[in-house]
């Protein structure tokens, strides 16, 4: 009943919902979900409709929307059309249909989804066809919505719950716990609550199971593969954007050549004369002159502050002017007492210094002890800063060396002059590595602690004795001691006549020596072409065996070396000759630039395979270009204390036709003892310092009148001296009492600026050397054989800002002074002449007076005398005035 009532309330037009009991259906879709399990919606195509005469709007209309179809018809259709038949889905229903005719209803509104539906039960059919009581009741109830009767409220009666299947739905939707929940109870002791908590860090991976990871991984179960994708597509016409640039050639100015506008000559002249120009110049010239003069008066743009600071950061104390002891070297192995005769710093290697030692004996003692002396080798010792006890190298020579020099172009060649007049050459190329890599060994520290005699057996570093390479010929060389030896610079060469040629070798290959036998010789280290063919037998006799370790660089020279040219310094008519002690040749480069040159050359030598000294060719002077206007004059200091300025070119003597040495250009006797230092200033090419005896003189080449500066006699004899290498006005002089005098021309010119004691005996040689702008050393050798190395302080080594110019100016002033003196001399001579003339004239005048005049004069004189007598007597009161008759009247 209730369902019916429910159904009755459903609004429906023509369709009447039919309550029906539940029937389970299988395949066909029925309207169970809508509460009508007997209704089976169907699609009936037009063909089917024609067959069954249920065409829409013809057989089946709105009025009669149903059609009774026989069961057999359906079956027939099914058989005919099998699966195509529209009744195929409801085949089972039709078969099971109890009745004979099925009701097919046209579902115009598609209420059940399709356009027809089939009612599967008889009851349903009945109900449809005969909707008896209900519809009218329903209709009546619908019409009677406004009942006239009083609506009696019937409270709903509780009826037992009839399940209609909704519980299933609810059950499906509700959420229930599938498993029973586990409960844990965690407890803790009460006293542990509230305790201070300390957290610490822990690396999660270090402790086992400290963390559990759920790493993400692609699970195939949950990956969805998108099989379909909805994309919207639109068809558009193909559009393409293209742009191009046309090359527009337009004329563009590439270069412009212009000519400055100028006035023509006439226009210029016309303008030049115009009044406006004159007025303009008048107006303007004063201000311009003022400005010009202002500039000359003072430079307004000078930065005073900057000029005040002369040196940037002076190293060391500025007030410290003394030379500081750095190191001293003594040869402790020699038995006899030796003195140092010459010092030379190694031009390239830092801290290496060579000294030549000679025995400290007079000539007679030498003669007496000559046997003993022969056994001892004469040495040049190489000292290094790192080892004060052992010399690094020892060069042997047949006799005592009195002077030596490193070759400027190859520091491995050394030339020395001996006491007997021989020149000795060494080649230490083989040992160059040894001396280059001298390192301060740890042993040197021990040296300070242990006494010396304990070191002897431990010394594993032996000093090497290096034999000389070549010596000069005894007969044709010098006869007496060689006092000075110098390498000629590598820029020129000299031939036999003394003419100067250019030097193409690039190396120094010639030497100049002077000796006490009054000659100056020039030597060439290249093999000479023999002038006369020598018989071969003679050569065999002369060959001497050379030990193996001596390099054969100068083998061609050994014992047969003759000088290239000899100059005799004769004093003219007298037989006495000058004994040169030192020579100073013109140098065309300044000393402080040669160090760089040497470095450059040694580097280039290392790059090449063999040094040029090993491949010396014969001198081919005829192919070389002669150097014109080369100054071949040089200064010579002699034993007597004279300074000679002479020429080395040989000239042809008109009488004999032979080549003779020229007479000296100038000779000055300035010094009282032998001149031991003749040295050019490293800064000025023409300033020469000569030291000898008790005084010092500075000369300028070209000024013939005398020295620029000549000091007065010093209390002690000067025994050695040297210019400072960095300060143009400073030079060092060593005295015989072991003091060193430092002269500063800008400070005082009459006495040394500073005097310092170095040692107790005579200083024999001084040689300063610059290693770096901060370090400058001076090597001082004394008579007892000790070499002192001192450090030059900042003040003495660093020139002030304009020092070169100032010293130059001083020299110029001195030159002017000398000129002035000369001029004064001339003037004085003139004056003297004039005075003499005057005197002469006066004498002549007195003779010309005549006799009469003389008498008259006498008379006049006598008269004046009488007058005088009278007045005197009157004044004396010896004669009265009035009564006085002049004696003259009486007479």
């Amino acid at each position: 009943m209730a369902p019916k009532a429910q159904k009755g309330k459903k609004p429906s037009g023509k369709k009447k919902p039919k309550p029906l009991p539940d029937t389970e259906e299988e395949e066909p879709l029925n309207m169970e979900s809508m509460g009508h399990p007997e209704i089976y919606p169907l699609v009936l195509t037009t063909k089917t409709q024609e067959i069954f005469n249920c065409r829409i709007d013809e057989d089946v209309t709105d009025e009669v929307p149903y059609k009774l179809i026989k069961k057999e018809d359906i079956f027939e259709d099914l058989q005919n059309r099998a699966a195509v038949s529209d009744f195929h889905p409801v085949k089972k229903i039709v078969r099971e249909y109890p009745g004979d005719e099925l009701l097919l209803v046209y579902d115009k509104d598609f209420k059940y989804g399709l356009n027809f539906y089939l009612i599967a039960t008889e009851e349903g059919k009945e109900n449809y066809l005969n909707p008896p009581e209900l519809p009218p009741e329903e209709q009546e109830e619908n019409k009677e919505l406004i009942p006239e009767d009083i609506y009696i409220y019937h409270p709903p009666l509780s009826k037992p719950w009839v399940s209609l299947g909704s519980e299933k739905e609810i059950e499906e939707e509700s959420v229930k716990e599938s498993t029973k929940q586990i409960t844990y109870m965690i407890s803790r002791k009460r006293n542990q609550f509230g305790a201070p908590i300390t957290f610490s860090d822990q690396n999660a991976s270090s402790a086992k199971d400290a963390y559990i990871e759920c790493t993400a991984y692609p699970d195939k179960n949950f990956t969805l593969k998108k099989l379909e994708k909805d994309i919207g597509m639109q068809v558009i016409p193909h559009i393409k954007d293209i742009s191009t640039q046309t090359r527009w050639t337009y004329p563009k100015n590439a270069t412009t050549q212009y000519h400055a506008r100028e006035f023509s000559e006439e226009e210029r002249e016309k303008l030049g004369k115009s009044k406006s120009l004159i007025d303009f110049l008048k107006k303007v010239s004063t201000s311009v002159e003022i400005a010009l003069q202002q500039n000359e008066i003072m430079n307004t743009f000078i930065e005073d502050w900057r000029c005040l600071a002369e040196e940037e950061g002076a190293f060391g104390d500025k007030t410290d002017t003394h030379l500081k002891e750095y190191q001293s070297f003594t040869d402790l192995h020699s038995t006899t007492e030796k003195k140092i005769t010459c010092i030379s710093w190694h031009p390239v290697i830092y801290g290496l210094i060579a000294v030549s030692v000679a025995v400290r004996l007079s000539f007679e003692d030498r003669v007496h002890l000559s046997g003993k002396l022969l056994l001892q080798p004469s040495l040049i010792l190489f000292w290094s800063f790192s080892d004060p006890i052992h010399p690094q190298l020892m060069l042997e020579s047949p006799e005592d060396i009195f002077c030596f020099q490193f070759c400027p172009t190859d520091p491995n060649i050394i030339a020395g002059g001996c006491i007997n007049g021989q020149i000795v050459l060494w080649d230490i190329t083989a040992h160059a590595d040894r001396i280059e890599n001298i390192k301060a060994s740890g042993r040197s520290k021990k040296v300070a602690l242990k006494p010396m005699f304990l070191l002897e057996p431990e010394s594993n570093k032996e000093s090497i004795f290096i034999r000389h390479c070549a010596v000069s010929s005894i007969e044709s060389g010098h006869k007496k001691i060689i006092t000075d030896i110098q390498w000629l610079p590598d820029t020129f060469e000299i031939n036999r006549m003394g003419f100067v040629y250019e030097n193409r070798n690039g190396i120094c290959c010639q030497l100049a020596t002077c000796s006490a036998d009054c000659t100056i010789c020039f030597w060439d280290i290249r093999p000479q072409k023999p002038l006369t063919p020598q018989p071969t037998e003679k050569k065999k006799e002369e060959s001497i065996e050379i030990p193996f370790d001596v390099p054969s660089t100068f083998l061609h020279l050994d014992l047969s070396w003759k000088p290239l040219a000899k100059i005799k310094l004769s004093k003219g008519e007298t037989s006495l000759d000058h004994c040169p002690t030192k020579i100073s040749l013109t140098e065309d480069h300044l000393l402080y630039k040669t160090q760089d040159k040497i470095l450059a050359q040694t580097k280039s030598l290392k790059a090449g395979e063999t040094s040029p000294y090993h491949n010396l060719e014969g001198g081919m002077t005829d192919h070389l270009k002669p150097l014109e206007d080369f100054c071949t004059k040089f200064f010579v200091g002699t034993e007597e204390g004279e300074v000679i300025y002479t020429d080395w070119k040989l000239e042809r003597d008109p009488d004999t036709g032979r080549f003779m040495t020229k007479k000296p250009v100038n000779l000055y006797t300035v010094h009282d003892g032998f001149v031991h230092t003749v040295q050019r200033s490293p800064f000025y090419n023409d300033i020469v310092l000569t030291i000898g005896g008790w005084n010092v003189a500075i000369w300028k080449e070209g000024v013939m009148t005398g020295p620029l500066l000549q000091s007065c006699c010093a209390p002690k004899m000067y025994t050695s001296g040297h210019w400072s290498l960095t300060r143009p006005g400073v030079f060092y002089i060593g005295r015989e009492d072991g003091y060193i005098d430092i002269w500063d021309l800008l400070e005082k010119t009459h006495e040394p600026a500073l005097s310092q004691n170095i040692c107790i005996t005579m200083i024999t040689y001084i040689k300063p050397w610059t290693f770096s702008p901060k370090q400058q050393f001076i090597a001082i050798a004394d008579y007892y054989g000790t070499l002192h190395i001192l450090e030059i302080p900042w003040t003495l080594s660093h020139p002030s800002v304009n020092e070169i110019a100032s010293v130059n100016y001083y020299f110029e002033r001195e030159v002017k002074h000398l000129e002035y003196v000369e001029q004064r001399k001339i003037i004085r001579d003139q004056e003297k002449k004039e005075m003499d003339l005057e005197m002469e004239k006066k004498k002549v005048k007195t003779y010309q007076k005549s006799k009469e005049q003389a008498e008259a004069e006498l008379k006049m004189e006598y008269e004046s005398y009488l007058e005088l007598e009278k007045t005197t007597l009157i004044n004396l009161g010896l004669a009265k005035v009035t009564e006085k008759v002049s004696y003259m009247d009486l007479i």
């Binding site: 400055a260 030049g272 120009l277 311009v288 002159e289 400005a291 010009l292 000359e296």
Partner: protein
């Protein structure tokens, strides 16, 4: 008269050259050789005009009376006028 003035200026210490140019920068008189004169005249002309215009722009009542360019080696002095400019190059001996 012109020559005397120029001579007097030239005899000052350190003066290297004197040029007289007109307002367009064309040299009228000079004590230096032609190429140097033209070069200096052209270069200085722009500078002078610029300097003058600067002064006058700041204050139109003002005008340039003297111009000196002091460089490391020389000093250029310019005395401008309505019609001509006088350029002097000096080498101060400091």
């Amino acid at each position: 008269m012109v020559e005397e003035t120029l001579q007097r200026l030239q005899s000052q210490k350190g003066v290297q050259g004197i040029i007289v140019v007109n307002t367009e920068g064309i040299p009228i008189k000079s004590t230096m050789e032609n190429s140097t004169t033209t070069q200096y005249a052209n270069l200085m002309h722009n500078f002078i005009l610029k300097a003058r215009s600067t002064v006058r722009e700041i204050d139109p009542q003002n005008d340039l009376t003297f111009l000196q360019i002091h460089s490391k080696k020389d000093e250029f002095m310019v005395a401008p006028d309505k019609v001509y400019f006088l350029i002097v190059i000096q080498n101060p001996t400091e």
